[in-house]
């Protein structure tokens, strides 16, 4: 009887010890869970991801601008390879790892078919001409366990010669002139409305660069869009072709060409 009582007493002590161990163990887990959010620098991670995302999109612009001016087809791949290395350097200690894939093959966007090669395409010397780049970027941040965050980005510049008209009615040949109506769109699609005369150099008639003046306005009756009106004076005879070269504020170039110069009164 005495022995049984002693055992019962020990049991309470042992139970209390076990209970204490359980409290400590469970508390440790709960503590770790509820304070995890506070220990991590979430704001910093979000800004880093956002900054890398924006910069990667800008890199596409830089790559496309370089390609349209130098026709170096591998420039975007080269830039992204450098970018992967430099992002790691720029954010040391975060374990930032970048990977990318450049668009390839025909894709349809903004009403045109774009045939990408190493993420780049230029379709020039047509009435509707465009330059485009497209890539998918993947961001991993090892220090926070972020993996597989990816986004697609594309840059696009389209120039459309809506009309090219030769006004021939003036008695004096020197008073005859040509008006070229051009609209410009970028990715979005979004009209580009901040271009200046210096962005449209050169403008050629029959392959010869011409002096010109430029107006810009919203044209609601015929085209229903923002128009750049290029005027070339002293055009005595009807030109057979008109060519407009555009370089936007990002440095991206496009060349439109038409053989459809209409006679107009």
């Amino acid at each position: 009887m005495r022995t049984a009582r002693e055992r019962k007493g020990q049991f309470i002590i042992i139970a209390a010890l076990l209970l204490s161990i359980m409290i400590i163990a469970i508390s440790t887990v709960i503590y770790g869970t509820v304070t995890y959010y506070r220990q991590e620098r979430w704001e910093e991670y979000v800004t880093i991801v956002d900054s890398i995302k924006t910069a990667s999109c800008n890199l596409l612009q830089v790559g496309l601008a370089n390609y349209t001016q130098t026709l170096n087809q591998s420039v975007l791949r080269d830039y992204f390879n450098l970018w992967m290395r430099d992002v790691r350097k720029a954010y040391p200690g975060f374990g930032v790892d970048l990977s990318y894939s450049l668009a390839s093959g025909i894709r349809s966007a903004y009403g045109v078919n774009i045939n990408y090669n190493l993420g780049l395409n230029r379709t020039w010397n047509q009435q509707v001409s465009f330059s485009a780049s497209d890539a998918t970027v993947n961001i991993d941040i090892a220090s926070v366990g972020l993996t597989g965050y990816n986004f697609s980005s594309h840059v696009f510049l389209k120039m459309n010669i809506r009309d090219a008209k030769w006004y021939y009615k003036a008695a004096q040949a020197s008073d005859r002139y040509v008006l070229i109506y051009v609209s410009v769109d970028k990715e979005g699609p979004e009209p580009v409305i901040n271009l200046q005369k210096s962005n449209f150099v050169p403008v050629k008639l029959d392959g010869v660069p011409q002096p010109f003046s430029m107006k810009r306005y919203y044209e609601s009756k015929t085209y229903g869009c923002f128009i750049y009106e290029i005027r070339i004076n002293s055009v005595a005879t009807q030109p057979t072709s008109a060519e407009v070269t555009l370089q936007d504020t990002r440095g991206i170039k496009s060349v439109s060409y038409t053989t459809d110069v209409l006679m107009s009164e």
Partner: protein
């Protein structure tokens, strides 16, 4: 109580032991809780003020970049315009200091881009720091890291 009496009443000693055991068990549990309490230091979260300033700083740089101005200011060395754009974009009671680095962490040579006295930055307890990277300008790849430090006046 004499031994003779205890022998007569064994329940009395059993009761005392129970009380002692209960007290010991309670002490063990209380010690465990006290142990936890002593070691469970609440981690200090980032001060609200710094976090808020970081958001403001990042948003302002992002907005200037979206307008296509940031790269122009940085790569064409239009530092005065850069400073003016930040002064206009940030709230009036927020002071800043901007430094531009290359990707290896070496500062680019540029004049001081600061709004507010140096004393404000030295004395402030909450200085927010925002890093913003730009890859290049026009056709040229040449990454720059902008470090914007912000304090509230």
């Amino acid at each position: 109580m004499t031994k003779a009496k205890q022998a007569q009443n064994p329940r009395s000693s059993k009761g005392q032991m129970r009380v002692i055991e209960a007290v010991m068990a309670s002490l063990i549990v209380v010690s465990a809780v006290a142990f936890l309490y002593a070691f469970a230091a609440t981690p200090s979260s980032q001060p609200q003020e710094t976090s808020e300033l970081e958001k403001i700083g990042h948003n302002v740089l992002h907005d200037i970049d979206e307008q296509g101005l940031l790269t122009r200011f940085v790569y064409r060395s239009e530092w005065a315009d850069m400073t003016s754009a930040l002064v206009v974009s940030l709230p009036t009671n927020v002071y800043f200091n901007l430094t531009v680095y290359n990707v290896n962490g070496n500062p680019i040579n540029h004049p001081l881009m600061q709004y507010g006295n140096q004393q404000i930055f030295d004395s402030s307890k909450a200085v927010a720091s925002v890093s913003y990277i730009v890859p290049g300008y026009q056709t040229t790849y040449s990454p720059r890291v902008l470090v914007l430090k912000l304090v509230r006046g």
